[in-house]
C-alpha cells in the first residue's frame, strides 16, 4: 500500500510535489550557472539580456587561470596514482592479513574522511610551516593523499571482499605463482573497484579547497583556491564559466561511471 506508487492515493500528490520541488532545488542552481556563463550581463542578470562566449575567452586568456587549472590537474593525477597503489596494498592487508589490530587500522585509515577538514587544514598548515612544505607541490600531494586514501581503501576493499578468493586459488592450482595469480586474475577481477578508487581519489584532490586555501602560495594555487579567492572579491561571470567546465567534467565522469556499471552488468 504505502510502497505501491499506484495505490498511494492522495499521498501520491504530496510525494510528487515534494519530489518535483526538491528536484528543482537541486537542479536549478546548476542550470543557472551554466546559463549565466553564456549570459552577456556582467551583473549576472537573469534571464540574460544576450548570449556571449566572452567569459570563456577571458578565462582562457588569463594565464593565471590556466596555471591553476594545470596545477590542480597535476596534483590530482599524482595523488590518484599514489592513492590507488597505496590503497591497493593497504586493502590487501586489511582484507586478507591476519594480524592483530586490523579493525583499529581500518578505522584509523577512514578517520581523515570523517573528521572536519578544517582541523586537518590548520594542523597541516602548522606542521608544514616547520617542514617548509606549504606552497609546494609535494605538500599539496601529501595533504590531498590523506584525503583521497580513505575513498581508495573503501572502494578497493569492498571489491576485494566481493571477489571470490577461490578464483585466485584456482589460478594458483593451475600453476600461476601467487604474484602472477594476483596480477593476471585478481586485479582484473577488481578492476571496477580500482577505477572507482581512481575516480574518487582524483575528485577528492581536484575538489579539495579547505586545506589548499591554507597551504597555497601566490606561486602555487590550485583551481579551487583561485575560485575561492576570486569569489571573496566579486561574483564575476568568469566564475560561472569555470563552474560550468567543472560541471561538464562531473557529468562526463558520471557518464563514464555509468558506462562501467553497465559493462559490469553485461
Amino acid at each position: 500500500m504505502l510502497l505501491d506508487f499506484a495505490r498511494l492515493g492522495p499521498w501520491r500528490v504530496v510525494l510528487i510535489v515534494i519530489a518535483v520541488l526538491v528536484g528543482a532545488y537541486l537542479l536549478l542552481p546548476i542550470l543557472l550557472i551554466v546559463a549565466l556563463s553564456f549570459g552577456s550581463s556582467q551583473w549576472l542578470q537573469f534571464p540574460p539580456p544576450g548570449w556571449t562566449l566572452r567569459w570563456y575567452e577571458e578565462l582562457f586568456d588569463d594565464p593565471e587561470w590556466i596555471a591553476s587549472f594545470l596545477t590542480s590537474f597535476q596534483i590530482a593525477a599524482v595523488v590518484t596514482v599514489l592513492s590507488v597503489v597505496i590503497g591497493l596494498m593497504a586493502s590487501f592487508g586489511l582484507t586478507r592479513g591476519e594480524f592483530r589490530g586490523r579493525e583499529v587500522l581500518r578505522a584509523l585509515f577512514l578517520t581523515p574522511m570523517i573528521l572536519p577538514v578544517v582541523v586537518l587544514a590548520v594542523a597541516l598548515y602548522a606542521f608544514f610551516l616547520r617542514l617548509h612544505l606549504n606552497g609546494t607541490f609535494l605538500g599539496f600531494v601529501l595533504a590531498h593523499l590523506v584525503i583521497a586514501l580513505p575513498f581508495s581503501i573503501i572502494a578497493i576493499s569492498n571489491a576485494l571482499e566481493r571477489f571470490d578468493r577461490d578464483i585466485e586459488t584456482a589460478a594458483i592450482v593451475c600453476g600461476a605463482s601467487p604474484l602472477e595469480a594476483k596480477i593476471r586474475v585478481t586485479l582484473p577481477g577488481i578492476r571496477l573497484g580500482l577505477i572507482s578508487a581512481a575516480i574518487f581519489s582524483f575528485l577528492a584532490s581536484w575538489d579539495e579547497v579547505v586545506i589548499a586555501i591554507f597551504m597555497a602560495s601566490p606561486d602555487l594555487q590550485t583551481l579551487p583556491v583561485r575560485i575561492y579567492s576570486t569569489l571573496r572579491q566579486d561574483l564575476s561571470p568568469v566564475i560561472a564559466a569555470v563552474s560550468t567546465l567543472l560541471i561538464a567534467l562531473t557529468a562526463a565522469l558520471m557518464a563514464l561511471a555509468a558506462l562501467f556499471r553497465k559493462d559490469a552488468r553485461s
Binding site: 500500500m1 506508487f5 510525494l15 550557472i33 586489511l94 591476519e98 606542521f127 578468493r165 569569489l231
Partner: protein, 289 residues
C-alpha cells in the same frame, strides 16, 4: 552454497602462517596517515594546552567568552536546522525514489548524484548569485509584489542554512532511500488486512521501520554540518561565525594557535562522540556510505 568443512575463503597458504602475516602492504598507507594526519593533528591539539604557556587557559578563554559561546551556539543552531530540513525534505524524496516509476526515479536520482558531485564552490557560487540583495530570488519576489524591500538572504545564518541544506540533502536522501527500499511491501498489505488506515500504517509501520535510516542520515548530516567551512565562509556574515570559520580565523588573522587548538579539540570531541553513537547503534556501514 553448501557448507564445506573449512571455508576455503581464508586458507592459510602452507608457506607462511605467522602472526602478523599480511601487515607489510599496510605500511605505506600507515606511514602516510601517521605522518600527514595523526602527528599534525595531535601536535595542534597539544598546542592548546602548551601555548602560550602550559595549562588550560585556552579552554577557560573559549568557554568563558560570550563571543565564542555564541559561535558554538550558531554552529549547533545551523547544524540542527539543516538536519531538520534535510529530514523533512529528504524523507518524502527517498520514499518517492523507492517507489516511483523507474523513469522518474532514475531522473531524480541522476539529479541528486549530479548535484552531489558538482564542485562545492560552483554550487556555493550559484547560491551567492541567487541570494544576493539584487539576486534572482529577491527580484522575483519583488516583481510579484510579495515584498517591497529585498530580504536579507545572504551574509547571515539564513543564507548559510539554505546553502548547507542544499549541499547536505543528498547525504540524507541516499541512505534513507536504501532503508526504505529494504522494507518488504508485504508488511503494508499485512497492516491493511489488520485494519490499519494509511495514516496508521505510516506512523506505526513505515516510520518505525525507517527510523534507523533517518537517525543514521540525521547524525551524518549533523556532524558534517558542524565542521563545515566553505559554505558558511562564503554565504555567512562576519558577525555570525560558525566554529570552523572561527578556527580558521584564529590561525590566519590572530595567530592564536593555542585557542585554535582548543576550538579544534572541541569540534573533534563533538564529532567523534556523534560518530561513536552512530557506530554503536548503526554499525560502520552507515557511517561509510
Amino acid at each position: 552454497m553448501t557448507v564445506t568443512d573449512v571455508p576455503l575463503a581464508n586458507p592459510s597458504p602452507a608457506t607462511a602462517r605467522r602472526r602478523g602475516r599480511g601487515i607489510v602492504p599496510v605500511i605505506p598507507a600507515l606511514a602516510v596517515v601517521v605522518l600527514v594526519f595523526v602527528i599534525p593533528v595531535l601536535a595542534l591539539l597539544l598546542r592548546s594546552v602548551l601555548e602560550p604557556e602550559p595549562g588550560l587557559q585556552n579552554y577557560a578563554a573559549f568557554f568563558g567568552s560570550t563571543t565564542y559561546l555564541k559561535v558554538l551556539g550558531n554552529t549547533f543552531l545551523v547544524a540542527g536546522t539543516v538536519t531538520l530540513a534535510t529530514v523533512l525534505l529528504g524523507f518524502p524524496v527517498a520514499w518517492f525514489l523507492a517507489i516511483a516509476p523507474s523513469f522518474w526515479s532514475r531522473l531524480l536520482f541522476a539529479i541528486i548524484i549530479l548535484s552531489m558531485w558538482t564542485n562545492l564552490l560552483a554550487r556555493t557560487y550559484a547560491w551567492m548569485v541567487l541570494l544576493q540583495r539584487t539576486g534572482i530570488i529577491n527580484r522575483t519576489l519583488m516583481d510579484l509584489g510579495l515584498i517591497s524591500e529585498p530580504l536579507p538572504l545572504i551574509n547571515n545564518l539564513a543564507g548559510v542554512t539554505i546553502g548547507m541544506t542544499y549541499i547536505m540533502l543528498p547525504f540524507m536522501i541516499l541512505p534513507l532511500h536504501a532503508t526504505i527500499r529494504a522494507i518488504d511491501p508485504a508488511v503494508f498489505q499485512a497492516a491493511a488486512l489488520c485494519g490499519a488506515s494509511r495514516w496508521q500504517a505510516f506512523t506505526r509501520v513505515m516510520l518505525p521501520l525507517a527510523a534507523s535510516g533517518i537517525a543514521a542520515g540525521a547524525l551524518m548530516v549533523f556532524v558534517m554540518s558542524l565542521g563545515y567551512f566553505i559554505t558558511p565562509a562564503l554565504l555567512g556574515g562576519t558577525s555570525n561565525m560558525m566554529l570552523a570559520e572561527l578556527i580558521a580565523q584564529l590561525v590566519q588573522s590572530l595567530l592564536d594557535w593555542g585557542l585554535a587548538g582548543a576550538a579544534a579539540l572541541v569540534l573533534l570531541v563533538v564529532t567523534l562522540a556523534i560518530y561513536l553513537v552512530q557506530l554503536r547503534f548503526f554499525g560502520f556501514g552507515q557511517a561509510r556510505s
